[in-house]
């Protein structure tokens, strides 16, 4: 079994947010939900100010606090290292959101079908898309995946359950890279088997000293950053995406 992990090279990331959009289209996540979020940050004062970027998916923590607190085992670790969430089981208590130190969980505050960007209700459109919502709805997401053969893919399913980055389990099972990784124009993101010392990700981590977000919380994230440095406390966001409120 591969143990998947991600390596994000901050020396390459140019904050383009293509990963955010790739994730949204692939996973049909509702408006305001950013399973991948790229922070654009500024530090210092003019003229000694600088800009940095920090993409943030779910960390797929090895010791995932969200898994521990989920009362119904809707959250669990896959053999492949992914933190999965069975949206068919989630009771919507949002304890995972509370427990996760990274803020990567999104509750479906509304019926996700209603807040899927394009008005799929347009009759002319329905005629050509057979009413799929969103019109580009990805049929893969309705399948069952992972070791529990459960509903763990995609983000467009139910009101009142939580969703988060799945590491694109519906793609990794086909042997594809996650959508964000596969699309990064800067080739800043890498995905692979952290247990295999020969894998692309292991090699990168051997070559460069990386860091992980909030190491001190001992969540043991499977997302590593190389290049750049951990975000400083002086940093503040620019061009923040507020999402739907």
């Amino acid at each position: 079994m591969p143990k998947y992990g991600m390596v994000i090279d901050l020396d390459k990331c140019y904050g383009c947010r293509a990963c955010m959009v790739a994730c949204k289209i692939e996973n049909n996540t509702p408006e305001g939900h950013f399973w991948m979020y790229t922070f654009r940050l500024e530090e210092g004062e003019y003229p000694n100010a600088k800009t940095t970027f920090l993409p943030r998916p779910c960390m797929h923590c090895e010791d995932a606090p969200c898994v521990r607190v989920c009362p119904v085992e809707a959250r669990y670790k896959e053999d492949t290292g992914q933190t999965s969430m069975d949206w068919d089981k989630c009771i919507g208590c949002r304890y995972c959101e509370i427990a996760c130190p990274y803020g990567v969980n999104y509750f479906n505050w509304e019926d996700p079908k209603k807040i899927q960007y394009v008005d799929g209700g347009d009759p002319d459109l329905q005629a050509v898309t057979e009413g799929a919502r969103p019109p580009y709805a990805n049929p893969d997401l309705d399948g069952r995946y992972g070791e529990k053969n459960a509903h763990v893919a995609g983000g467009n399913h139910l009101k009142s359950v939580v969703g988060k980055c799945t590491f694109c389990i519906h793609r990794t099972e086909k042997g594809l890279d996650p959508a964000c990784v596969a699309n990064c124009p800067a080739f800043a993101m890498h995905f692979g088997d952290l247990d295999d010392p020969e894998s692309n990700v292991s090699q990168l981590l051997q070559e460069q000293v990386g860091f992980r977000l909030l190491e001190e919380t001992n969540t043991n994230p499977r997302v590593h950053y190389i290049g750049g440095s951990p975000p400083s406390t002086d940093a503040h966001q620019i061009e923040a995406v507020k999402g739907k409120e």
Binding site: D11, K12, Y14, G15, C16, R17, A18, M20, V21, A22, K24, I25, E31, G32, E42, G44, Y46, P47, A49, K50, T51, T52, F53, D88, K89, D111, Y117, V118, D124, L125, V128, T129, G131, A132, R133, P134, P135, Y136, A137, N138, P139, D140, D142, G143, N149, H151, H157, L158, K159, S160, E173, A182, N183, P185, A186, F187, I238, V241, K242, G243
Partner: protein
């Protein structure tokens, strides 16, 4: 790659998402997925298909693989075979799937039912009716008058063979583009200086020192590209140790990639470059060999600024192929060997690069000598004052560049020994400022001093080596007396002319002043939204009121269409054949086509189809096809001129002409890889003779001659003052605004959007839902403005005193000069419900016309403003 396969997804539950909706009532438990029997019943067979096509939003036509399931588009992913994007897409490339399925597209042809100038009311029409209306308007104008009365206005379009060439030629229209708003000032500067078509970019694979001159690498495209390509090359270059110095009022555009940032005051780049030249010359970082052999820096200049020449009679071939004798003026140089002035092309001449001489009783200097004197006072201290930079920083940059250029070194590429000068500049839209043409020339002169033009690792302009058609005419700029055509081509006002629609608007509104031959009557607008994209909004709109008839070809109801169109013809988006398009990255050559992943949605049609139908109705189909045949070089299998072809068939013929099996090649592969560009096609230095024997115009003598002609014809100083042989610092017009207009307004692109053609894409819109004005926190606080506060921005035209005002929200940005505010492009729309109330376009604030254009009729995106609390 059009793989059709029937896939059975794992474990069922894969039926249409609709099933799930009914299964889960609000708050009800799930788990209704039933037992294995039910799951088996749900096993759905998916007909999965992958169609290669290209991004239709951006200007570099990134390769796309469209994933289709049961005939429905599900995802657009990058095509790994496409060298420009290597399998990756920018946010717009990813998000455009929503635009394709946007229910707010224009679904059928529309005919206006109310007066123009206000939001339109429409009735749906058949294609036949709508096309006939447009064709009749064309036919109403006698063919010979069409240049005067029929205007074809395009924006950032593709497939120029079909539109710009074939349709414009067949219809006889006058064509105006978006170039004067984009980067044409830089194009004109480079065409005049080196003969290359483009602005500035480095030879990324070999460059070690990059001056990023207003390059918005994080958001915009830089020279010629849209987004991804340069960025990928920059990253690789940085891994090889490239140093990047960013010259820009704002650092946002360089993100974390700037090793150094010089926050230059807007509009002062020319002074900066002149100071670089000053330091380089003082420290003898001068590639004398290049200047002597390949530039006119050796030509002798008389006291009046013109060249010392000799007259020679040459035999030339005229248009009819007959030989003719003509007298030409040949520049002279000082021959060190013989100690006299001789023709620049004389045998075994050893031209002196420096010195003052007397030749035939006339005192002359080499052009280089003139330049030395010209920049002698342009010290870093002098420029520091103008640019509001530190003199030592300017000096350091100059010294570093001088060092990095490794003047004298060579490198072997593909077996050819070439000069190695790993220093380059990247700059594009930044040339759109009043002094932009000359600032770009100043940048080029710095690169010429270092000998990096077309050297390995050095300064590049075009993707490959190709002398552009303007090179010759720019050696002798013609300045004519009126009357002039609608955009004042060849006029005493703008003899080098970038066909600026705003200039045309001013001319239309005051035809006497600009000696206009005629006010145009009919306009076809194609892939452009001038009301939003082109400054000054008010002038553009006022002039559009004067047209009798306007047709707009657009997939959406652009604001221009909404206010001014009589007829709207709905174009398809990605669902059409279009091309052929270059996929060149400068290093790899490739060609691609846009292949429709599905039929045009609703009642839209591909643009080429629209033009074919329109030409047929207007009775000009044969002419149209004739040009298509010649533009596509369909020598072996030309289109019959009498019959309206299928668009696919045209591309099929073209593909076969290229030696491919046919259009299926593109339908399957997407991209035709032609391979690496060899050094011999890449570097001007690798030509035999180098640069095809052209001597680059270090000294812009033709500019001075044009100035003299303009003066003679009575053009005002505002028009001729920038026609100087060397870039000469002068205070920009906008500095004449009263002191309360104490801020510079600039503009830039956002990575999330493409010009005026993607803001309505909801997933992108969500990322940047409102116009914002970037402002240094200190400057904002001084005006009592908090982050997010509403503020008025008022611009002032220093010449006419007019003011324009918009309201927007302040957004703090530490990485911008305190005297500068920036309003990104891409806002100010109102027809698509998604873009309503997003805040203004900055093009309301920028002025057009004198003082706010370059000498080459290119729009400036600078203006002085004041900002105050709303």
């Amino acid at each position: 790659m059009r793989v059709s396969r029937r896939t059975v997804l794992k474990g069922g539950g894969v039926l249409g998402a609709g099933l799930f909706v009914t299964r889960f009532l609000p708050g009800m438990p799930g788990g209704g997925s039933g037992g294995p029997a039910e799951e088996l019943a749900e096993l759905a067979q998916l007909n999965e298909e992958f169609v290669p096509t290209t991004c239709w939003i951006g200007k570099q036509d990134c390769g796309i693989i469209a994933r289709k399931v049961n005939g429905r588009l599900v995802k657009l992913e990058g095509n790994p075979e496409h060298p420009r994007n290597r399998g990756r897409l920018c946010p717009k490339g990813q998000g455009q799937i929503q635009a394709i399925y946007d229910p707010n597209r224009v679904k059928t042809p529309l005919v206006r039912t109310n007066e123009k100038g206000v939001t339109g009311t429409w009735r749906q029409a058949t294609w036949d009716e709508a096309l006939t209306m447009v064709a009749d308007k064309i036919k109403e104008i006698p063919e010979d008058d069409r240049k005067k009365y029929l205007l074809w206005q395009k924006g950032r379009s593709k497939a120029g063979d079909f539109y710009d060439d074939a349709f414009v030629k067949a219809s006889g229209a006058t064509k105006m583009g978006h170039g004067a708003y984009c980067s044409d000032a830089g194009y004109r500067a480079m065409e005049l200086t080196t003969g290359l078509h483009g602005v500035l970019h480095p030879d990324f694979r070999h460059t070690r020192y990059l001056l990023s001159y207003g390059w918005d690498g994080m958001n915009g495209g830089g020279n010629k590209t849209c987004q991804i390509t340069w960025h990928q090359q920059l990253i690789e270059a940085r891994e090889r140790g490239l140093k990047m110095v960013h010259i820009d009022p704002s650092r946002r555009s360089a993100g974390p990639f700037a090793d150094e940032w010089l926050p230059i005051k807007p509009g002062t780049d020319m002074a900066f470059f002149l100071a670089l030249a000053n330091v380089l010359i003082e420290n003898e970082y001068v590639d004398t060999e290049y200047l002597t052999k390949h530039s006119n820096a050796v030509s002798l200049v008389k006291a009046d600024g013109t060249f010392l020449t000799e007259t020679r009679t040459v035999t030339i071939e005229n248009d009819d192929g007959e030989e003719e004798e003509e007298e030409v003026q040949i520049e002279q140089v000082w021959d060190a060997a013989s100690g006299g002035a001789v023709a620049i092309d004389a045998d075994r001449v050893q031209p002196a690069l420096e010195g003052s001489y007397t030749a035939g009783g006339v005192s002359v200097k080499t052009a280089f000598e003139v330049f030395k004197e010209h920049v002698a006072s342009a010290t870093p201290e002098w420029a520091a004052d103008i640019c509001d930079l530190k003199a030592e920083d300017i000096r350091t940059v100059a010294m570093e560049m001088g060092e990095a250029a490794m003047i004298g070194s060579t490198i072997v590429m593909d077996g050819i020994t070439l000069p190695y000068r790993p220093v380059g500049i990247m700059g594009y839209h930044v040339t759109q400022q009043e002094l932009g043409f000359q600032a770009c020339r100043a940048a080029a002169l710095v690169m010429m001093l270092l000998g990096t033009i077309e050297a390995v690792g050095g300064q590049r302009t075009d993707y490959t080596w190709k002398v552009y058609k303007n090179w010759e005419p720019f050696g002798d700029i013609s300045v004519k007396d009126g009357p002039y055509n609608m955009y004042l081509k060849g006029s005493k006002f703008f003899p080098i002319n970038s066909a600026n629609p705003s200039i045309a608007a001013h001319a239309m509104l005051d035809p006497d002043k600009y000696e206009l031959e005629a006010v145009p009557k009919v306009m076809i607008i194609h892939m452009a939204n001038p009301v939003i994209s082109f400054p000054n909004q008010k002038t553009i709109m006022d002039s559009y009121e004067l047209f009798e008839f306007i047709a707009v070809i657009d997939p959406w109801l652009s604001e221009t269409a909404d206010l001014f169109a009589d007829v709207v013809l709905p174009a398809a988006t990605i669902e059409k054949y279009e091309g052929p398009m270059s996929a060149n990255t400068q290093y790899v050559d490739a060609k691609t086509l846009r292949v429709p992943p599905m039929d045009p949605l609703f009642d839209s049609r591909g643009d080429i189809d629209i033009y074919l139908d329109l030409c047929e109705k207007a009775g000009i189909l044969d002419k149209y096809l004739d040009v298509v045949n010649s533009e596509l070089k369909l020598e072996d299998n030309p289109l019959p001129l009498t019959e309206r072809p299928e668009v696919r068939d045209i591309f099929d013929r073209w593909a076969k002409q290229q030696g491919l099996e046919g259009v299926e090649f593109f339908e399957q592969q997407g991209v035709w890889q032609k391979g690496d560009v060899p050094a011999s096609k890449f570097y001007g230095y690798a030509q035999d003779p180098p640069f095809d024997g052209n001597r680059h115009r270090f000294y812009g003598e033709s500019l001075l001659r044009a100035q003299n002609d303009m003066k003679e014809l009575g053009a005002g100083e505002i028009f001729w003052r920038l026609y100087t042989p060397y870039p000469t610092w002068m205070t920009a017009t906008l500095e004449g605004s009263p002191p309360e207009y104490d801020l510079y307004l600039i503009s830039r692109k956002l990575i999330e959007f493409k010009q005026a053609r993607s803001t309505f894409i909801p997933v992108l819109n969500e990322l940047a839902p409102k116009q914002f004005m970037e402002m240094n926190p200190q400057a904002a606080k001084d005006r009592g403005l908090d982050d997010g506060d509403e503020a008025w921005v008022e611009s002032q035209n220093a010449l006419t005193g007019e003011t324009r005002t918009v309201k927007t929200n302040v957004s703090y940005l530490e990485t911008i000069r305190p005297d500068t505010v920036c309003l990104p492009h891409h806002y100010g729309f109102f027809t698509n419900p998604i873009t309503k109330d997003q805040g203004p376009t900055s093009n309301t604030l920028f002025f057009s016309g004198e003082g706010y254009v370059t000498n080459t009729a290119d729009q400036s995106f600078h203006v002085k403003v004041k900002v105050y609390r709303a």
